[in-house]
Subunit: 169 residues, 2 copies
Amino acid sequence: MKKIQLLKIVCASLILICMSCKKAEEAPGEQAASAAAFDLAAAKTSVEAGYAEFEKAFNAKDSVALANCYTSDAKFMNPNGKAVVGRPAIQNTFGMWFNGDTSTIKLNLVDLWGNETNLTAENAWTMYDKDGKVLDDGKSLEVYKMEDGKWKLYRDCYNSNMPAMPMKK
Amino acid sequence: MKKIQLLKIVCASLILICMSCKKAEEAPGEQAASAAAFDLAAAKTSVEAGYAEFEKAFNAKDSVALANCYTSDAKFMNPNGKAVVGRPAIQNTFGMWFNGDTSTIKLNLVDLWGNETNLTAENAWTMYDKDGKVLDDGKSLEVYKMEDGKWKLYRDCYNSNMPAMPMKK
């Protein structure tokens, strides 16, 4: 009888182990589904919230807040000049631009690709003068990286839809 | 004794089931590793082979071959004009550019991000005149999509490192 009891205990233990195995076995399917269905809609909401922060900082001429939309190691790939590398240099560039500037900007997310590691966005932007008249408009591709728990601009390459104008002195 | 034999058989079966469960349990780790280790090195080789094709087509002033580096639904986001959408329009744009043009181009892959679905590349490009003198240089971000079994340019946004020049008449 003792042998039977021991075997019963072994059987019960094995059943429990199998049940936990079964649970673990279900995980890959769920993981695969979650990887395949990376929540691009949630990422889109985050990028659009970032656009609102970018606009607010730009329109307030707040170069610190604007530079904070970029990762610490970002490249601001602006036209007609070499790329500006790193948040301090980007902040400095915006600081110079904002000196006496009264323009405002509006960003529109056109398309978004990516995964948990990086996002790439297509953006259509418009700049207005203080009376709301269009000064410039254009397009950009942006690469995002997660930093401090937020999607931040890691690469930002843009150009204008308008004919080239020589730089003002 | 019959009860003991039955229990032994049940135990043996449960052990076998557990062993097969254990095997299944190992799968997610392997799957995750294979997903994490998307072969970016191979993708880099493909993108660089695409750059060689792009340069060859550009330097031969072959607008058909150059447009074929782009997906059928690509957006060529060139500076100082609206984006050119779709391969036929892109081919037409290059055709107009190439009329009488003798410049050559060199592309350099700076960085690459992505997965099986899309790649994003950072590119540093230089244009030369027929005597090998630098005419222009700049940077771009490119989004790639797989079409006809090849990574092709799906979005291509670039600008120059040189000061803006007004358009020639």
